[in-house]
């Protein structure tokens, strides 16, 4: 019987082998490198040396939380407004939202630079109006703005997907039973779209905290985020171990926050909708 069962699902075998080789093993290697020195001997030094990077950790977490929060503030009403549009319009709006999402991250970030650079559009407009210049590239605000710009569609998409599935009759029922529009929003729409919000938050937070291109370009190299630090460690074989340690700690941090978040979202529908 067991043999028969195995045979039935044999089609999954190549995938399982592939996953073990190229998903599980690489992660084990990260752990291995994080806990060994260059010669392969066990050490905790990489982990303890992370104290030097405390500031980077704090800054990365802070900036990505801010960016995620702004994305939520902008994205939630946007998703809601799209669901209230006629169905044919909804498709069009989602296409408009997907186009930047499928456009390469480097290009999107680079287009931000075209706007914010010292000789860019904003400063040219300011100069034309005789309002002086503002230096945008290199500020933390520019990095947060870049994250919001790059990842906003990832917030809107899952929220929209969940919201558009809400039964319209529930909203009507709430109104009939005497809810004000605000109450309908808070008591019906928000709770029912929570799973979308949670996957939206995840989909914005994870790339924000691990980005290195946005901070390199829009941060102008004035400060480092976690992604930059990891990337720099992997430029040189001698610092692979420290890089692995940072990557490992970041991954654990993300896993913990995902686990905490998933406790709030009860159904796993809409978790991954692209």
């Amino acid at each position: 019987m067991i043999k028969k069962n195995l045979l039935r699902s044999a089609a999954a075998a190549p995938h399982i082998v592939w996953s073990v080789l190229f998903i599980v093993f690489p992660l084990l290697f990260v752990a291995y490198f994080a806990f060994t020195d260059g010669a392969g001997a066990f050490t905790l030094e990489n982990i303890t040396s992370l104290g030097e990077h405390t500031q980077t950790f704090v800054l990365s977490i802070a900036l990505s939380i801010i960016a995620t929060f702004i994305c939520f503030l902008i994205g939630y009403p946007l998703a809601y407004i799209i669901t209230t549009a006629p169905e044919s319009h909804q498709k069009f709006y989602m296409l408009l939202l997907m186009l930047p999402m499928w456009t390469n991250l480097l290009i999107r970030t680079y287009s931000m630079m075209a706007i914010m650079d010292d000789g860019g559009l904003i400063n040219n407009i300011l100069a034309a109006l005789d309002w002086g210049q503002i230096h945008l590239i290199g500020t933390k605000g520019a990095v947060v703005f870049g994250m919001v710009y790059d990842f906003l569609p990832y917030m809107v998409l899952p929220i929209y997907t969940v919201m558009s599935k809400i039964d319209r009759r529930l909203l009507e029922a709430a109104r009939d039973l005497g809810c004000s529009p605000v109450q309908v929003l808070l008591k019906v729409i928000v709770p029912l779209s929570m799973s979308g919000v949670i996957s939206g938050i995840t989909m914005v937070f994870v790339p924000s905290i691990s980005t290195f291109y946005i901070s390199q370009k829009l941060g102008g190299g004035t400060f480092e985020l976690l992604g930059d630090t990891i990337e720099r460690q992997f430029q040189n074989e001698a610092t692979y171990n420290v890089g692995a340690a940072i990557a490992l700690v970041m991954m654990v941090l993300i896993l913990i926050s995902l686990a905490v978040m998933n406790r709030f979202g009860d159904d796993d529908e809409g978790g991954v909708v692209l």
Partner: protein, 269 residues
């Protein structure tokens, strides 16, 4: 729709599209100035196409995306069918969770983890070029697989389970039943999985950055090295062309999925 909602939509979409619009506009600038339009020309496109690197990178990107999409679609389709046939809930769940790891993990972690594996194994085998097209391809297949599987699974769940059973009863071998019954039913999911894998592979920068060797450059990697130097509108020209291709691809996928929907609605009737 109320006035406020409409204004809000316009504002957000304007914010999303202004940078892209500026980029496209300045790709037609006649000088290297990226803040002032001095005149329209196709100079930067000519410049872009006169460099053989562009074509090599384009060819590399397409070869990689096509091979990654094909391999991940074949493995992923088989996996989705295999997973759906699994009896044990525990086995199902654990395969699924491992599959989803590359989707949940930040790209940079997936990238460096694979790089460590490749460098370690390459070192053991005594290779001089530890990272190459092969390692890049393996990495791309790996991060495409979960998306392929996820786009096929809903179709499998919707499929009438008695169909493959009937095929078996009527004398089909398991392989025949797969090609004659299961595959046609899930074809829509397979196609969208393939397109998704293709687009993801085209688009990827972070994972490629860590897993490719110096000899194999793709378009995103080329953009990255171009943006390391000074700002020049040839990147704008390249970006414009990429944005236009993405637009065409998106429209095609949308038309396909709209057609599929229509068909499945008709079938339901």
């Amino acid at each position: 729709m109320k006035l406020f909602s409409r204004l809000y939509l316009i504002l957000i979409f304007a914010l999303l599209y202004i940078p892209i619009g500026v980029l496209i506009l300045f790709s037609f600038n006649s000088t290297a100035n990226t803040g002032m339009l001095t005149g329209l020309s196709l100079y930067w496109y000519k410049e872009l196409f006169s460099s053989p690197d562009t074509f090599v990178a384009l060819k590399n990107t397409l070869v990689l995306a096509l091979s990654a999409a094909c391999i991940s679609t074949v493995i992923g389709t088989a996996a989705a069918v295999g997973i759906s046939r699994m009896k044990s809930k525990w086995a199902k769940k654990s395969v699924q969770s491992v599959t989803n790891i590359p989707m949940m993990n930040p790209d940079i972690v997936t990238g460096v983890s694979m790089m460590l594996l490749f460098v370690f194994v390459g070192g053991m085998l005594g290779l001089t070029e530890k990272l190459s097209f092969i390692t890049l391809l393996i990495a791309h297949v790996t991060f495409c697989l979960p998306y392929v599987i996820l786009s096929i699974q809903p179709r499998l769940r919707q499929m009438d389970k008695s169909l493959p059973e009937a095929a078996r009863d009527l004398g089909c071998t398991p392989l025949q039943s797969f090609f004659k019954v299961e595959l046609p039913t899930i074809m829509g999911g397979v196609v969208s999985g393939f397109l998704m894998a293709f687009t993801l592979s085209l688009d990827d920068f972070v994972i490629s950055y860590f897993t490719t060797g110096s000899s194999y450059q793709t378009l995103p990697l080329m953009i990255y090295s171009m943006t390391k130097k000074e700002v020049k509108p040839d990147i704008y020209a390249l970006s414009t062309l990429i944005i236009l291709s993405v637009l065409v691809l998106l429209i095609i996928t949308n038309v396909i999925s709209a057609r599929n929907e229509k068909r499945s609605r008709k079938e339901k009737k």
